[in-house]
Protein backbone atom coordinates (compact mmCIF):
# COMPACT_ATOMS: atom_id res chain seq x y z
CA UNK A 1 0.00 0.00 0.00
CA UNK A 2 1.54 3.26 -1.10
CA UNK A 3 1.99 6.08 1.35
CA UNK A 4 -0.56 8.90 1.38
CA UNK A 5 1.09 12.17 0.35
CA UNK A 6 -1.86 14.54 0.33
CA UNK A 7 -5.10 14.10 2.20
CA UNK A 8 -7.89 16.60 1.80
CA UNK A 9 -10.78 16.37 4.23
CA UNK A 10 -14.10 18.19 3.96
CA UNK A 11 -12.65 21.38 2.49
CA UNK A 12 -14.90 24.44 2.31
CA UNK A 13 -14.22 27.81 0.77
CA UNK A 14 -16.55 30.77 0.35
CA UNK A 15 -15.85 33.82 -1.79
CA UNK A 16 -18.31 36.55 -0.89
CA UNK A 17 -21.73 34.96 -1.41
CA UNK A 18 -20.51 32.00 -3.43
CA UNK A 19 -19.48 28.76 -1.86
CA UNK A 20 -16.76 27.61 -4.21
CA UNK A 21 -15.80 24.45 -2.40
CA UNK A 22 -18.57 22.57 -0.60
CA UNK A 23 -16.81 19.83 1.25
CA UNK A 24 -14.08 18.26 -0.84
CA UNK A 25 -12.32 15.13 0.37
CA UNK A 26 -9.81 12.92 -1.36
CA UNK A 27 -6.45 11.25 -0.92
CA UNK A 28 -3.43 11.25 -3.16
CA UNK A 29 -0.98 8.40 -2.72
CA UNK A 30 2.69 8.44 -3.53
CA UNK A 31 3.33 8.36 -7.30
CA UNK A 32 -0.34 8.95 -7.98
CA UNK A 33 -1.26 11.03 -10.97
CA UNK A 34 -4.62 12.56 -10.26
CA UNK A 35 -6.40 14.64 -12.87
CA UNK A 36 -9.13 17.03 -11.77
CA UNK A 37 -11.63 17.92 -14.45
CA UNK A 38 -14.87 19.86 -14.47
CA UNK A 39 -16.55 22.92 -15.95
CA UNK A 40 -14.86 26.24 -15.30
CA UNK A 41 -15.83 28.03 -12.13
CA UNK A 42 -16.28 24.83 -10.16
CA UNK A 43 -13.45 25.49 -7.75
CA UNK A 44 -10.68 23.39 -9.29
CA UNK A 45 -8.11 26.18 -9.17
CA UNK A 46 -9.29 27.23 -5.73
CA UNK A 47 -8.76 23.66 -4.59
CA UNK A 48 -5.15 23.68 -5.78
CA UNK A 49 -4.50 27.06 -4.21
CA UNK A 50 -5.89 25.81 -0.92
CA UNK A 51 -3.60 22.80 -1.04
CA UNK A 52 -0.46 24.90 -1.27
CA UNK A 53 -1.86 27.50 1.12
CA UNK A 54 -1.93 30.36 -1.36
CA UNK A 55 -5.60 30.58 -0.42
CA UNK A 56 -6.86 29.84 3.06
CA UNK A 57 -9.69 27.33 3.23
CA UNK A 58 -12.58 28.32 5.49
CA UNK A 59 -12.83 24.91 7.03
CA UNK A 60 -11.62 21.37 6.53
CA UNK A 61 -8.18 19.91 6.81
CA UNK A 62 -5.26 19.19 4.51
CA UNK A 63 -2.40 16.88 5.33
CA UNK A 64 0.92 16.76 3.59
CA UNK A 65 2.54 13.49 4.55
CA UNK A 66 1.67 13.35 8.23
CA UNK A 67 1.53 17.06 8.84
CA UNK A 68 -1.74 18.95 9.18
CA UNK A 69 -0.83 21.98 7.08
CA UNK A 70 -4.09 23.79 7.83
CA UNK A 71 -2.97 24.05 11.45
CA UNK A 72 -2.49 27.80 12.06
CA UNK A 73 0.79 27.04 13.84
CA UNK A 74 2.32 25.65 10.69
CA UNK A 75 5.08 27.54 8.85
CA UNK A 76 3.45 28.14 5.48
CA UNK A 77 6.65 29.10 3.69
CA UNK A 78 8.23 25.85 4.81
CA UNK A 79 5.21 23.83 3.64
CA UNK A 80 5.17 25.47 0.21
CA UNK A 81 8.76 24.41 -0.42
CA UNK A 82 7.47 20.86 -0.58
CA UNK A 83 4.53 21.56 -2.89
CA UNK A 84 5.37 22.50 -6.47
CA UNK A 85 2.90 24.69 -8.31
CA UNK A 86 2.63 25.32 -12.03
CA UNK A 87 0.34 28.14 -13.09
CA UNK A 88 -1.77 28.61 -16.16
CA UNK A 89 0.05 31.83 -17.07
CA UNK A 90 3.55 30.50 -16.22
CA UNK A 91 4.45 33.38 -13.88
CA UNK A 92 8.15 33.15 -14.51
CA UNK A 93 10.25 35.83 -12.84
CA UNK A 94 10.63 38.16 -15.78
CA UNK A 95 13.86 39.84 -14.67
CA UNK A 96 15.74 36.56 -14.41
CA UNK A 97 17.10 34.20 -17.05
CA UNK A 98 15.67 30.70 -17.32
CA UNK A 99 18.59 29.39 -15.26
CA UNK A 100 18.19 32.04 -12.54
CA UNK A 101 14.45 31.37 -12.40
CA UNK A 102 15.23 27.80 -11.43
CA UNK A 103 18.17 28.74 -9.19
CA UNK A 104 16.53 31.40 -7.08
CA UNK A 105 14.48 29.05 -4.94
CA UNK A 106 17.60 27.02 -4.27
CA UNK A 107 19.74 29.97 -3.24
CA UNK A 108 17.23 32.23 -1.52
CA UNK A 109 14.90 29.65 0.02
CA UNK A 110 17.03 26.56 0.57
CA UNK A 111 20.25 28.49 1.14
CA UNK A 112 22.34 26.50 -1.32
CA UNK A 113 25.57 27.94 -2.67
CA UNK A 114 25.67 29.43 -6.16
CA UNK A 115 27.62 26.45 -7.44
CA UNK A 116 25.29 23.80 -6.07
CA UNK A 117 22.25 25.75 -7.20
CA UNK A 118 23.61 26.19 -10.68
CA UNK A 119 24.34 22.53 -11.10
CA UNK A 120 20.91 21.50 -9.86
CA UNK A 121 19.15 24.17 -11.94
CA UNK A 122 20.94 23.10 -15.12
CA UNK A 123 20.01 19.52 -14.41
CA UNK A 124 16.33 20.48 -14.02
CA UNK A 125 16.39 22.53 -17.21
CA UNK A 126 17.82 19.58 -19.05
CA UNK A 127 15.11 17.42 -17.57
CA UNK A 128 12.50 19.60 -19.30
CA UNK A 129 14.58 19.74 -22.46
CA UNK A 130 15.78 23.32 -22.14
CA UNK A 131 19.43 23.00 -21.24
CA UNK A 132 20.33 25.15 -24.23
CA UNK A 133 17.97 27.99 -23.24
CA UNK A 134 19.47 28.57 -19.80
CA UNK A 135 20.65 32.10 -20.49
CA UNK A 136 17.52 33.41 -22.18
CA UNK A 137 15.05 35.68 -20.43
CA UNK A 138 11.35 34.75 -20.25
CA UNK A 139 10.63 37.45 -22.81
CA UNK A 140 12.77 35.51 -25.28
CA UNK A 141 11.03 32.16 -24.79
CA UNK A 142 7.88 30.74 -26.36
CA UNK A 143 4.89 29.96 -24.17
CA UNK A 144 5.66 26.27 -24.15
CA UNK A 145 9.27 26.90 -23.18
CA UNK A 146 8.19 29.28 -20.43
CA UNK A 147 5.90 26.67 -18.98
CA UNK A 148 8.68 24.08 -19.05
CA UNK A 149 10.99 26.49 -17.22
CA UNK A 150 8.20 26.98 -14.67
CA UNK A 151 8.02 23.22 -14.23
CA UNK A 152 11.79 23.07 -13.78
CA UNK A 153 11.59 25.87 -11.20
CA UNK A 154 9.17 23.78 -9.14
CA UNK A 155 11.07 20.55 -9.65
CA UNK A 156 14.28 22.10 -8.38
CA UNK A 157 12.78 22.29 -4.91
CA UNK A 158 12.34 18.48 -4.89
CA UNK A 159 8.66 18.74 -4.05
CA UNK A 160 6.65 15.92 -2.51
CA UNK A 161 3.82 16.70 -4.89
CA UNK A 162 3.37 18.89 -7.95
CA UNK A 163 0.18 20.83 -8.60
CA UNK A 164 -0.65 21.87 -12.16
CA UNK A 165 -3.32 24.53 -12.64
CA UNK A 166 -4.44 24.27 -16.27
CA UNK A 167 -0.82 24.28 -17.44
CA UNK A 168 -1.66 24.26 -21.14
CA UNK A 169 -4.71 26.52 -21.26
CA UNK A 170 -2.75 29.66 -22.11
CA UNK A 171 -0.72 27.98 -24.86
CA UNK A 172 -1.08 28.01 -28.60
CA UNK A 173 -2.26 24.58 -29.75
CA UNK A 174 1.07 23.67 -31.34
CA UNK A 175 2.91 24.29 -28.05
CA UNK A 176 0.67 22.17 -25.85
CA UNK A 177 2.35 18.91 -26.83
CA UNK A 178 5.79 19.78 -25.53
CA UNK A 179 4.42 20.65 -22.09
CA UNK A 180 2.28 17.53 -21.90
CA UNK A 181 5.31 15.47 -22.91
CA UNK A 182 7.28 16.82 -19.95
CA UNK A 183 4.37 16.14 -17.62
CA UNK A 184 4.01 12.63 -18.93
CA UNK A 185 7.70 12.03 -18.37
CA UNK A 186 7.41 13.25 -14.78
CA UNK A 187 4.48 10.94 -14.19
CA UNK A 188 6.48 8.00 -15.53
CA UNK A 189 9.37 8.93 -13.26
CA UNK A 190 6.98 8.56 -10.36
CA UNK A 191 6.28 12.17 -9.45
CA UNK A 192 3.12 12.59 -7.41
CA UNK A 193 0.90 15.00 -9.33
CA UNK A 194 -2.46 16.70 -9.10
CA UNK A 195 -3.37 18.14 -12.48
CA UNK A 196 -6.27 20.41 -13.28
CA UNK A 197 -6.70 20.25 -17.03
CA UNK A 198 -9.08 19.94 -19.95
CA UNK A 199 -6.57 17.78 -21.82
CA UNK A 200 -8.66 14.69 -21.88
CA UNK A 201 -6.06 12.73 -23.81
CA UNK A 202 -3.53 13.31 -21.04
CA UNK A 203 -6.10 12.35 -18.42
CA UNK A 204 -6.93 9.11 -20.18
CA UNK A 205 -3.43 8.08 -21.02
CA UNK A 206 -1.41 9.23 -18.02
CA UNK A 207 -3.61 9.60 -14.97
CA UNK A 208 -4.27 6.91 -12.40
CA UNK A 209 -7.44 8.55 -11.28
CA UNK A 210 -9.79 11.25 -12.50
CA UNK A 211 -11.77 13.44 -10.17
CA UNK A 212 -14.79 15.06 -11.78
CA UNK A 213 -15.80 18.21 -9.93
CA UNK A 214 -18.83 20.37 -10.48
CA UNK A 215 -20.45 23.10 -8.41
CA UNK A 216 -17.90 22.80 -5.62
CA UNK A 217 -18.34 19.06 -5.01
CA UNK A 218 -16.73 15.91 -6.32
CA UNK A 219 -19.37 14.31 -8.50
CA UNK A 220 -17.44 11.18 -9.25
CA UNK A 221 -13.91 9.84 -9.13
CA UNK A 222 -12.21 6.74 -10.34
CA UNK A 223 -9.73 5.30 -12.83
CA UNK A 224 -9.99 6.80 -16.32
CA UNK A 225 -11.43 3.65 -17.84
CA UNK A 226 -14.23 3.60 -15.32
CA UNK A 227 -15.13 7.26 -15.74
CA UNK A 228 -14.97 7.16 -19.50
CA UNK A 229 -16.65 3.87 -20.15
CA UNK A 230 -18.93 3.22 -17.22
CA UNK A 231 -19.58 6.42 -15.32
CA UNK A 232 -22.04 6.20 -12.46
CA UNK A 233 -23.47 9.62 -13.07
CA UNK A 234 -25.21 10.98 -16.13
CA UNK A 235 -23.48 14.33 -15.59
CA UNK A 236 -20.03 12.75 -15.78
CA UNK A 237 -20.61 11.18 -19.16
CA UNK A 238 -22.22 14.35 -20.47
CA UNK A 239 -19.24 16.44 -19.47
CA UNK A 240 -16.65 13.95 -20.69
CA UNK A 241 -18.45 13.62 -23.99
CA UNK A 242 -18.53 17.38 -24.38
CA UNK A 243 -14.86 18.05 -23.67
CA UNK A 244 -13.75 15.05 -25.63
CA UNK A 245 -15.47 16.61 -28.60
CA UNK A 246 -14.08 20.06 -27.81
CA UNK A 247 -10.51 19.01 -27.26
CA UNK A 248 -10.41 16.72 -30.24
CA UNK A 249 -9.66 13.39 -28.63
CA UNK A 250 -10.52 10.94 -31.36
CA UNK A 251 -11.75 8.02 -29.42
CA UNK A 252 -14.81 6.32 -30.78
CA UNK A 253 -15.78 5.02 -27.37
CA UNK A 254 -15.37 8.42 -25.73
Amino acid sequence: MAETIVRVEDLHKVYGETEVLKGISFDVKEKDNVVVIGPSGTGKSTLLRCINLLTKADSGKIWLDDQDITDPEVNEDEVRQHIGMVFQDFLLFNHLTALKNVEIGLTKVLGKTEGEAREKALHELERVGLGDKADLYPGQLSGGQKQRVAIARSLAMNPRVMLFDEPTSALDPELIGEVLEVMKKLALEGMTMIVVTHEIGFAKEVSDRIIFMEGGVIVEEGPPAELFYSPKHERTSEFLWKITELYGEHDKNG
Binding site: L54, F87, L91, F93, N94, K108
Partner: protein, 225 residues
Protein backbone atom coordinates in the same frame (compact mmCIF):
# COMPACT_ATOMS: atom_id res chain seq x y z
CA UNK B 1 24.32 89.68 -26.58
CA UNK B 2 27.38 91.58 -25.39
CA UNK B 3 25.61 92.02 -22.07
CA UNK B 4 25.28 88.29 -21.74
CA UNK B 5 28.83 87.47 -22.50
CA UNK B 6 30.43 90.07 -20.32
CA UNK B 7 28.08 89.34 -17.42
CA UNK B 8 28.57 85.62 -17.69
CA UNK B 9 32.30 86.04 -18.19
CA UNK B 10 32.87 88.16 -15.14
CA UNK B 11 30.61 86.18 -12.84
CA UNK B 12 31.11 82.64 -14.03
CA UNK B 13 32.61 81.46 -10.72
CA UNK B 14 29.57 82.72 -8.80
CA UNK B 15 27.15 81.02 -11.18
CA UNK B 16 29.12 77.84 -10.79
CA UNK B 17 29.04 78.03 -7.02
CA UNK B 18 25.27 78.35 -7.16
CA UNK B 19 25.09 75.63 -9.77
CA UNK B 20 26.99 73.26 -7.50
CA UNK B 21 24.73 74.00 -4.55
CA UNK B 22 21.67 73.37 -6.70
CA UNK B 23 23.07 70.01 -7.79
CA UNK B 24 23.94 69.14 -4.22
CA UNK B 25 20.57 69.91 -2.69
CA UNK B 26 18.83 68.15 -5.56
CA UNK B 27 20.91 64.99 -5.18
CA UNK B 28 20.67 64.90 -1.40
CA UNK B 29 16.94 65.64 -1.59
CA UNK B 30 16.52 62.84 -4.12
CA UNK B 31 18.50 60.46 -1.92
CA UNK B 32 16.46 61.24 1.18
CA UNK B 33 13.35 61.06 -0.98
CA UNK B 34 14.26 57.61 -2.29
CA UNK B 35 15.09 56.42 1.23
CA UNK B 36 11.63 57.55 2.36
CA UNK B 37 9.66 56.89 -0.80
CA UNK B 38 10.63 53.28 -1.44
CA UNK B 39 9.69 52.00 2.02
CA UNK B 40 6.57 54.18 1.95
CA UNK B 41 5.54 52.56 -1.35
CA UNK B 42 6.26 49.02 -0.15
CA UNK B 43 4.32 49.60 3.06
CA UNK B 44 1.51 51.27 1.17
CA UNK B 45 1.10 48.16 -0.99
CA UNK B 46 2.01 45.32 1.37
CA UNK B 47 1.51 46.75 4.84
CA UNK B 48 -1.34 45.98 7.20
CA UNK B 49 -4.22 48.39 7.51
CA UNK B 50 -2.58 50.78 9.97
CA UNK B 51 0.77 50.83 8.30
CA UNK B 52 -0.89 51.47 4.95
CA UNK B 53 -2.78 54.38 6.43
CA UNK B 54 0.35 55.92 7.89
CA UNK B 55 2.20 55.61 4.58
CA UNK B 56 -0.78 57.09 2.76
CA UNK B 57 -1.00 60.00 5.22
CA UNK B 58 2.66 60.86 4.66
CA UNK B 59 2.29 60.71 0.89
CA UNK B 60 -0.87 62.80 0.73
CA UNK B 61 0.37 65.35 3.24
CA UNK B 62 3.55 66.13 1.35
CA UNK B 63 2.04 65.92 -2.11
CA UNK B 64 -0.91 68.01 -1.07
CA UNK B 65 0.83 71.04 0.40
CA UNK B 66 3.14 73.59 -1.24
CA UNK B 67 6.82 72.84 -1.04
CA UNK B 68 7.41 76.42 0.10
CA UNK B 69 5.16 75.88 3.13
CA UNK B 70 7.05 72.66 3.88
CA UNK B 71 10.37 74.46 3.66
CA UNK B 72 9.24 77.22 6.00
CA UNK B 73 7.81 74.71 8.45
CA UNK B 74 11.10 72.85 8.52
CA UNK B 75 13.28 75.96 8.77
CA UNK B 76 11.13 78.25 10.94
CA UNK B 77 8.72 75.77 12.51
CA UNK B 78 10.98 72.98 13.77
CA UNK B 79 13.00 75.32 16.02
CA UNK B 80 9.83 75.71 18.10
CA UNK B 81 10.08 72.00 18.76
CA UNK B 82 13.72 72.36 19.67
CA UNK B 83 15.07 71.16 16.33
CA UNK B 84 17.27 73.81 14.81
CA UNK B 85 18.62 73.05 11.38
CA UNK B 86 21.15 75.06 9.39
CA UNK B 87 19.93 76.42 6.06
CA UNK B 88 21.42 73.60 4.07
CA UNK B 89 20.04 70.98 6.46
CA UNK B 90 16.59 72.49 6.24
CA UNK B 91 16.81 72.52 2.44
CA UNK B 92 17.88 68.86 2.32
CA UNK B 93 15.15 67.77 4.69
CA UNK B 94 12.32 69.76 3.12
CA UNK B 95 13.20 68.67 -0.41
CA UNK B 96 13.71 65.09 0.77
CA UNK B 97 10.36 64.89 2.53
CA UNK B 98 8.60 66.39 -0.45
CA UNK B 99 10.35 64.24 -3.00
CA UNK B 100 9.77 61.10 -0.92
CA UNK B 101 6.04 61.54 -1.24
CA UNK B 102 6.20 61.83 -5.02
CA UNK B 103 8.72 59.03 -5.37
CA UNK B 104 6.51 56.79 -3.24
CA UNK B 105 3.77 57.17 -5.82
CA UNK B 106 6.09 56.31 -8.70
CA UNK B 107 7.36 53.25 -6.84
CA UNK B 108 3.86 52.19 -5.88
CA UNK B 109 2.70 52.38 -9.49
CA UNK B 110 5.60 50.18 -10.60
CA UNK B 111 5.10 47.65 -7.80
CA UNK B 112 1.44 47.33 -8.67
CA UNK B 113 2.23 46.99 -12.37
CA UNK B 114 4.36 43.93 -11.57
CA UNK B 115 1.17 42.33 -10.38
CA UNK B 116 0.10 39.81 -7.81
CA UNK B 117 1.09 36.86 -9.99
CA UNK B 118 4.79 37.37 -9.41
CA UNK B 119 4.23 37.44 -5.66
CA UNK B 120 2.12 34.29 -5.87
CA UNK B 121 4.80 32.49 -7.90
CA UNK B 122 7.47 33.53 -5.41
CA UNK B 123 5.38 32.34 -2.47
CA UNK B 124 4.71 29.06 -4.28
CA UNK B 125 8.38 28.10 -4.13
CA UNK B 126 8.44 28.83 -0.42
CA UNK B 127 9.68 32.41 -0.35
CA UNK B 128 8.52 34.58 2.51
CA UNK B 129 6.79 37.84 1.64
CA UNK B 130 9.86 39.86 2.52
CA UNK B 131 12.15 37.73 0.37
CA UNK B 132 9.66 37.86 -2.48
CA UNK B 133 9.54 41.65 -2.29
CA UNK B 134 13.30 41.89 -2.17
CA UNK B 135 14.28 39.31 -4.79
CA UNK B 136 11.31 39.25 -7.14
CA UNK B 137 9.13 42.36 -6.88
CA UNK B 138 11.63 45.17 -6.34
CA UNK B 139 14.21 44.18 -8.98
CA UNK B 140 11.43 44.35 -11.54
CA UNK B 141 9.66 47.39 -10.11
CA UNK B 142 12.89 49.39 -9.91
CA UNK B 143 13.53 48.80 -13.60
CA UNK B 144 9.99 49.56 -14.56
CA UNK B 145 9.94 52.75 -12.52
CA UNK B 146 12.83 54.47 -14.29
CA UNK B 147 10.91 56.19 -17.10
CA UNK B 148 8.16 57.69 -14.91
CA UNK B 149 10.58 58.32 -12.03
CA UNK B 150 12.83 60.30 -14.38
CA UNK B 151 10.44 63.20 -13.95
CA UNK B 152 11.30 63.46 -10.29
CA UNK B 153 14.96 64.62 -10.43
CA UNK B 154 13.95 67.17 -13.01
CA UNK B 155 10.99 68.59 -11.16
CA UNK B 156 12.80 68.47 -7.81
CA UNK B 157 15.75 70.32 -9.26
CA UNK B 158 13.54 73.08 -10.56
CA UNK B 159 11.50 73.16 -7.37
CA UNK B 160 14.74 73.46 -5.39
CA UNK B 161 14.84 77.13 -6.39
CA UNK B 162 12.50 77.80 -3.44
CA UNK B 163 15.48 77.50 -1.10
CA UNK B 164 16.32 81.01 -2.24
CA UNK B 165 13.69 82.08 0.29
CA UNK B 166 15.74 80.80 3.21
CA UNK B 167 18.91 82.20 1.64
CA UNK B 168 20.62 78.97 0.67
CA UNK B 169 23.22 80.15 -1.86
CA UNK B 170 21.93 78.12 -4.80
CA UNK B 171 21.77 79.08 -8.45
CA UNK B 172 18.62 81.14 -7.97
CA UNK B 173 20.06 83.00 -4.99
CA UNK B 174 23.23 83.77 -6.94
CA UNK B 175 21.10 85.16 -9.72
CA UNK B 176 19.19 87.33 -7.31
CA UNK B 177 22.43 88.66 -5.80
CA UNK B 178 23.72 89.58 -9.23
CA UNK B 179 20.46 91.32 -10.07
CA UNK B 180 21.05 93.59 -7.11
CA UNK B 181 24.25 94.56 -8.87
CA UNK B 182 22.89 94.63 -12.43
CA UNK B 183 19.50 96.06 -11.57
CA UNK B 184 19.23 97.55 -15.06
CA UNK B 185 19.23 94.19 -16.85
CA UNK B 186 17.57 91.57 -14.61
CA UNK B 187 16.24 89.65 -17.60
CA UNK B 188 19.71 88.74 -18.77
CA UNK B 189 20.57 87.34 -15.36
CA UNK B 190 17.36 85.36 -15.22
CA UNK B 191 18.00 84.00 -18.68
CA UNK B 192 21.48 82.87 -17.74
CA UNK B 193 20.09 81.17 -14.63
CA UNK B 194 17.45 79.51 -16.78
CA UNK B 195 20.08 78.22 -19.19
CA UNK B 196 22.01 76.68 -16.31
CA UNK B 197 18.86 74.89 -15.14
CA UNK B 198 18.15 73.73 -18.66
CA UNK B 199 21.65 72.31 -19.09
CA UNK B 200 21.21 70.46 -15.83
CA UNK B 201 17.86 69.03 -16.87
CA UNK B 202 19.18 67.87 -20.23
CA UNK B 203 22.19 66.21 -18.63
CA UNK B 204 19.97 64.45 -16.12
CA UNK B 205 17.69 63.21 -18.89
CA UNK B 206 20.68 61.87 -20.77
CA UNK B 207 22.11 60.11 -17.71
CA UNK B 208 18.76 58.54 -16.82
CA UNK B 209 18.33 57.25 -20.34
CA UNK B 210 21.73 55.62 -20.14
CA UNK B 211 20.83 53.98 -16.84
CA UNK B 212 17.58 52.69 -18.26
CA UNK B 213 19.25 51.19 -21.32
CA UNK B 214 21.94 49.53 -19.25
CA UNK B 215 19.44 47.85 -16.96
CA UNK B 216 17.14 46.76 -19.74
CA UNK B 217 16.06 43.13 -19.79
CA UNK B 218 14.60 41.71 -22.99
CA UNK B 219 10.83 41.63 -22.84
CA UNK B 220 10.58 42.81 -19.25
CA UNK B 221 8.42 45.84 -19.93
CA UNK B 222 6.25 43.92 -22.36
CA UNK B 223 5.85 40.93 -20.10
CA UNK B 224 4.69 42.73 -17.02
CA UNK B 225 1.93 44.76 -18.59
Amino acid sequence: MDDWISLLGSHLPEFFQGFKITIRITLVGLGIGAALGLPAAVLRVYGGKWIRTIALAYIELFRGTPILAQLFLVYYGLPDMGIILPRMGAAYLALGLNSGAYQAEYFRGAIQAIGGGQMMAARSIGMSRIKAIRHIILPQALRLVIPPWSNEPISLMKASAVVYLIAVPDLMTKGKQLIAQYYYSPIVVYLIVAVFYLVLVLSLTWILNRVRTRLEIPGLDVETR
